[in-house]
Amino acid sequence: MLVFVVRRLAYAVLTVFAVSLVAFFIIELAPGSAITAEISRLRAQGNVVSDQQVQALEEQYGINDPWIVKYGKWAGGLVTGDFGQSFAFREPVADLIWSRLGLSIALSIGAIIVAWAVAIPIGVYSATHRYSLPDNVITVIQFIGVAIPEFLLALAVMTAAVRWGGIEVGGLFSNEYRNAEWSAAKFGDMLGHLWMPLVVITVGSTAWLTRVMRANLFDVLGQQYIQTARAKGVAESRVIWKHAVRNALHPLVMTFGTTLSALISGEAIVSIVFALPTTGQALLQSLIVKDTYVAATLLVFLSILLVIGNVISDLALAWIDPRARTAG
């Protein structure tokens, strides 16, 4: 098992390295350099950019270096924690990332917990009451839940909150707490701002997971070992929860990576609409203003989040399924 963990971790590091190459490649693909775009943007805003400044910037980013040197500089910065300066946010990218990563991770974990906690029981109910009225209602809600784009749902929820709830939404804190010291009240205020985006992020994945759970469990319930358990005299609730659900979770854990990817994607878009300071929001914001090097750095960080999630899912799979243990 230890060998399995070590091998899986080494593999994850390699994957992150490969992802950083991909991210860098995409950025390099852009016609012109990120720096010219930035200079023209600064000039357009009325800033005076001297040739010396241009040179300094070019020096810093090594515009005229071969790509391998540029990659080395950028990747070296990634490893040492020196991510450069963000034009868009006017602060070091390092500060940008560390302050936002916490919220991103918290939202992702929160979303996963909510999605699983809702999807598993509903999926079990749906699979054990197939084609009943509640099952049909659940199915319809699922399809619509998957079909609504996150940003649209976010907009609709915000509008509804303002119109009928009279709540101001958006941002992480209310005005009075924005610069206040941390306190229970401030924390409560933050939670008050977070639950709505969390729900919006979770809806699509929950709907999808419910469908997966329903289909999986229904397949498992048709398996011979379920009849074996019933034939032993095991009570029906135990047949379902001990014998069936345990096996139906297996594909759910296997799709953990897909779920996490969808949640991170959703989080990025929803954070834009709700103006939440997350890594995904910073990435999209950087992309919108063409701050591409910062975007590449943030993209690598989001991928690291996903890769770690995949490692956890593989370990979880080995834990719940004895067959995966020996295969790994």
Partner: protein, 379 residues
């Protein structure tokens, strides 16, 4: 027991159903029904999928005849109709709309609209309106319906007074095809790469699987967004459209390739492939005559299920301003108008293109499910 013990373990099933030329065949209808018509039969049974197919066909028809169905030029800006509400309908020897006049409050600099139904404006059918090219070829100015004066606004108007109904229909031309085309390209890519991976095996398989894993290790929307953002800014609408298609397919092929690989590996170990191989058939022949035709229906089903994600992606990216950009009309571009809560508060109809998105994606999901169930009833 001696005599009975002589009986071998021959099964009854073998003895009865597939005998040595007994009179079984004439009664049996098995084999007369083709695989394809069985699939069709199974598909027809899922009513939701059939209804979805009809709705989608109607949406695509609307996209094709967008110019004919639009009463107003979707690009025509008119500040007199800024955020004008959907027209009020009435009856005057036929369907008609009420007159609307704009009033500007000079103090708040806000506009209000006064509706007057005393002198309704009747609709004209198959009438002349703005000029457009049917199918992008035939110049004409015939429209299904127009009004002789003012503007008929079925869904209301956007912040520039443009007709949201006409824009939503025209948006379908981009939004309903970009995802579809992206998936088509992804399917071709995924089928080729997946087949190579599954059939060749060995080093090629390992490399391809690693590449897929790396692409899948990047969250989808951020990856799409990054690729879309590095697109050159000075592309024409058409160029942008095709680059978007490429971007969507560059990520979407991975999942399809995995599915195809799995299927190909399954079929490649089947006896008839071994037979073909022992008959010295070339690898290319085996793939094209045995593997791909078998996997085809499965590939179609998996591809259908991949369409919603690409449509959603185009909409989201365009909404963020890094996909299709304003002179282009797509549902995502239209929804940019809805990105401000204060606008949404007053002019709820700017969300109508979103309804089109949800409807299209729900239908694609149901259709995909129906096709999958028809193709793979046991999966």
């Amino acid at each position: 027991m001696t005599a009975t013990a002589q009986i071998s373990g021959a099964g009854l099933d073998e003895g009865t159903s597939s005998g040595t030329g007994g009179p079984v065949a004439p009664d049996s209808k098995i084999g007369e029904v083709s695989q394809r018509s069985l699939m069709l039969r199974r598909f027809r049974r899922s009513k939701l999928a059939v209804v979805s197919l009809v709705i989608l066909l109607l949406m695509y028809l609307a996209a094709i005849f967008a110019g004919f169905l639009s009463p107003n030029d979707p690009a025509a800006v008119n500040q007199e109709y800024k955020y004008a509400a959907p027209s009020a309908w009435t009856w005057s020897g036929g369907p008609a709309i009420c007159r609307v006049t704009q009033e500007i409050d000079p103090i708040n600099i806000s506009t209000t609209y006064v509706t007057n139904c005393d002198q309704p404006i009747p609709l004209q059918f198959f009438s002349r309106g703005y000029e457009y090219e049917l199918f992008g070829l035939i110049p004409t100015d015939r429209h299904l319906f127009t009004v002789p004066e003012g503007r008929v606004l079925v869904f209301g108007a956007d912040g520039n007074g443009r007709d949201l109904f006409s824009r939503t229909i025209h948006g379908a031309q981009v939004s309903l095809t970009i995802g579809l085309l992206g998936v088509v390209v992804a399917t071709v890519l995924g089928s080729i790469i997946g087949t190579i991976s599954g059939y060749a095996g060995g080093a090629a398989d390992t490399v391809i699987q690693r590449v897929i894993e790396i692409i899948m290790s990047v969250p989808t929307i951020p990856l799409w967004a990054t690729m879309a953002a590095v697109m050159p800014q000075d592309l024409s609408v058409t160029q942008r459209y095709f680059v978007m298609t490429m971007i969507l397919s560059l990520v979407a092929w991975t999942g399809l390739a995995r599915q195809v690989r799995g299927k190909v590996m399954g079929y490649a170990s089947a006896d008839y492939v071994a037979a073909a191989r022992s008959a010295n058939a070339s690898g290319f022949r085996i793939v094209t005559t045995h593997l791909l035709p078998n996997a085809a229906s499965h590939i179609v089903a998996v591809s259908m299920l991949a369409i919603p994600a690409t449509i959603l992606a185009e909409t989201a990216l365009s909404f963020l301003g890094i996909g299709m950009l304003d002179p282009a009309i797509s549902w995502g571009v239209l929804l940019q108008d809805a990105s401000r809560v204060d606008v949404l508060q007053q002019y709820l109809w700017v969300l109508i293109p979103g309804v089109a998105v949800v409807l299209a994606i729900t239908c694609f999901q149901l259709l995909g499910d129906g096709v999958r169930d028809a193709v793979d009833p046991y999966s």
